[in-house]
Point group: C2
Chain length 265, copies 2
């Protein structure tokens, strides 16, 4: 398998960096190929700007249209094209980060903002049906993705009734709204909670748990998000009454009987 | 009232920029004072780095500890200190952005990552009780906050059963996990949906609706998120059984009978 590992932490001596190194070693031992984008080490630029699209600055910028035009004509900034090529090469994507303010660090959010342009990750039209291919269908269909993250907070606070919000709900914009949107199959996230206080025993346990998840990477069951074009949603893209009847909340978008629990180490 | 308006859009001729200008004019007409941080125009740096904290690069960086040390000793980067001063000056904060990948643009996420340091927005200890002041209590208690955003998607897709996820759930990391966490009272968000196709009529209607929300800014009822230290959560910070009994999902963290609906124009 070809695995693309995106990593976003400012400190090369962090728990996150050690976990990444352990993970990459495991992938090699398992016979997989691996490419790593260490966003801090690369000096990645996270800010969407007109010059990414060779856009004439005297003209008003429409980000979606300008990005599609640049994508189609091969005019995107070289650093964006390089990341898209790694993603096209890969069978699986690992997205690793420390949870900051219950989301991705800005340098990583801006990886998606800049790399996931129109025509590549959204606005992909099926030429036969004329429908937009998204949520389970798109150019990235067939690829797997898994979020690997640390959080300072203890695990119960990220559980189904924990004060910080259930982990999969916090990750919904990334796991459902970005990765699944673009067509990827998303495996349950791998969380190391309480990461401000990691003992040697706890670190060893986290490495072992991550190894198990990487061994299962090719075969593990993804989160069962609903397909946009599978019949579950009406023409306004609202979930039909006969699914998750009477319920609201993000969990209705997965037909699993219960929301997936955060994995704990 | 003193209002601090944070704005994150790359194009000064966008619908977002026009709405911001209209909003700031309204605030002045209402007799309020206003400061604006236009993050793109300022060339804001969104990436957390060791040099923000004058941290010795030969030492391992612990972001939380280093940021608190720099905050307490007045050693934070000047651009961070300037934003903290605007926030301390303000009675209300407006956070305006286009929804990109169901979250904030990276330049804005990195405003929170860099400005909301330990000691200022988290890790604030009550000297009497020894408890951490967060979720309804903190240095920013008494200030109001409101998210103003545009989305390319139509309103129904951001409703309670819409495919993109209910708007307040998507905004939970910002509204609950960041603003409420730091102690601010969060008003329901103001959304302009379908923002890729805004007619003159629709724009005029959006400006009027925004004006109404700004008129109500000092008095409108905030989202009724639960207080961490108000007795609803147990010692593990898990919601006690007798609240929202048998339910899970982000909506359990607000004792409103139903999740707040996205505002529509």
């Amino acid at each position: 398998m070809k695995v693309f590992w995106i990593f976003a932490h400012p400190e090369s001596r962090s728990v996150n960096a050690s976990l990444r190194d352990a993970g990459v070693r495991t992938l090699h031992e398992l016979g997989h190929e691996c490419q790593v984008s260490d966003l801090y080490a690369m000096g990645w630029t996270p800010v969407v700007r007109a010059n990414d699209y060779r856009h004439d600055p005297s003209e008003r910028l429409y980000v979606a249209a300008a990005s599609k035009q640049a994508y189609v004509t091969g005019a995107l900034s070289e650093d964006i094209q390089a990341e898209q090529e790694k993603l096209e090469w890969a069978d699986a994507l690992i997205v690793q980060f420390p949870l900051w303010w219950y989301g991705m660090p800005a340098i990583l959010k801006g990886w998606f903002d800049r790399v996931f342009v129109k025509g590549f990750a959204y606005g992909v039209i099926d030429s036969e049906t004329g429908k937009t291919r998204r949520y389970g269908e798109g150019k990235l269909t067939g690829k797997r993705a898994m979020v690997v993250l640390t959080a300072g907070a203890p695990a119960p606070t990220l559980g189904p009734r924990g004060i910080n919000g259930e982990l999969n709900a916090l990750l919904f914009p990334l796991q459902h709204g970005t990765l699944w949107y673009a067509g990827m199959s998303v495996l349950p996230p791998f969380l190391v909670p309480g990461a401000d206080r990691v003992s040697e025993e706890k670190y060893a346990s986290a490495v072992n748990a991550l190894r198990e998840r990487l061994v299962a990477l090719p075969d593990a069951a993804p989160i069962a998000f609903r397909y946009q074009n599978g019949g579950d949603y009406d023409d306004d893209l609202v979930l039909r009454e006969d699914h998750a009847r009477g319920r609201t909340g993000l969990a209705v978008h997965s037909p699993d009987p219960a929301p997936v629990q955060p994995s704990e180490t």
